[in-house]
């Protein structure tokens, strides 16, 4: 609601038009949302025992485990971080 973006939207599978038409969201609001998500994520991770790492979930018709999810979140988010840094570098130059 605060961002003006639909509830169902996560970005997955979006088109260049979808990217271009994202509302001009306040970056501070996004960071706040991200901080909240991160805090909640840590609580979840802290609650997973070694045995529970092998728990199976179904997502998009695939079977995945907690192990896969934890590795995947790090990999996916870090890919996007690298892209953010790269775009910033293109705009501001090497030390910018």
């Amino acid at each position: 609601m605060k961002t003006g973006i639909e509830f169902e939207s996560s970005g997955y599978g979006q088109s260049p038009d979808d990217v271009r038409s994202l509302p001009g969201v306040n970056i501070a609001d996004l960071v706040q949302y991200f901080d909240d998500v991160r805090a909640a994520s840590f609580r979840v991770v802290d609650g997973i025992s070694d045995d529970e790492l092998a728990t199976v979930f179904t997502r998009r018709d695939r079977s995945i485990t907690w192990s896969w999810i934890l590795g995947h979140v790090l990999v996916e988010e870090s890919q996007h971080l690298g892209q953010v840094a790269f775009i910033r570098g293109m705009i501001r130059g090497l030390g910018g």
């Binding site: 088109s15 260049p16 070694d50 045995d51 529970e52 790492l53 092998a54 485990t65 907690w66 192990s67 896969w68 999810i69 934890l70 590795g71 995947h72 790090l74 990999v75 996916e76 988010e77 870090s78 890919q79 996007h80 971080l81 690298g82 892209q83 840094a85 790269f86 775009i87 570098g89 293109m90 130059g93 090497l94």
Partner: protein, 172 residues
């Protein structure tokens, strides 16, 4: 028995598998293309990712010799033994030798295998242990290192995918 090793290895195999897919079919020109004069190109990035993997696993954590020197990879790629990528200048990136991506990936395959073996040999107690990273002049916690490897390598993977996308378009 599931352990901390499972999410780490899952992430390692995920980023490495995606990296190989992302560079598939790119021409030498596309591998060396720089979006801007200070931008890294894909070939430099992939080579650096391989160096990162090799150094963390074989030197920093295991305290042994990097495959780069032990298995003559520097020589095979025709590059100086002291080259790693960290802190390099735009000139060094721009003047990067046009080495065969297949050869870089062979090196990376071996570095990746040694990384997985390193993780397999770790026990829970090792996560609290520190190792000294000489090239950074600091002591680092092994638990931190495992997360960092995934974070650093995946950042570079994202950059490689982005540079490919700029050249080839959305699904190129």
């Amino acid at each position: 028995m599931a352990s901390f090793r499972d999410p780490i290895k899952s992430g390692l195999n995920e980023y490495y598998g995606k990296l190989k897919q992302t560079v598939k079919g790119l021409t030498p020109e596309e591998l060396l293309w720089q979006p801007g004069p200070e931008s890294n190109h894909i070939l430099w990035t992939v080579w650096h990712m391989a160096r990162v993997s090799d150094r963390w696993a074989n030197s920093t954590v295991l305290g042994g010799e990097e495959l780069w020197t032990r298995d003559d990879w520097a020589k095979r790629l025709g590059m100086p033994v002291d080259r790693y990528g960290r802190g390099e200048t735009p000139e060094q990136v721009r003047d990067f030798p046009s080495v065969e991506i297949g050869l870089v990936l062979q090196y990376f395959d071996e570095a990746h295998a040694s990384m997985l073996a390193m993780v397999d040999a770790l026990e829970q107690a090792d996560l609290d242990r520190d190792v000294f990273a000489a090239y950074r002049n600091e002591s680092l916690n092994i638990g931190w290192i495992l997360g960092h490897i995934l974070a650093e390598e995946s950042q570079h993977l994202g950059q490689v995918a982005y540079i490919r996308g700029i050249q080839r378009g959305f699904n190129g």
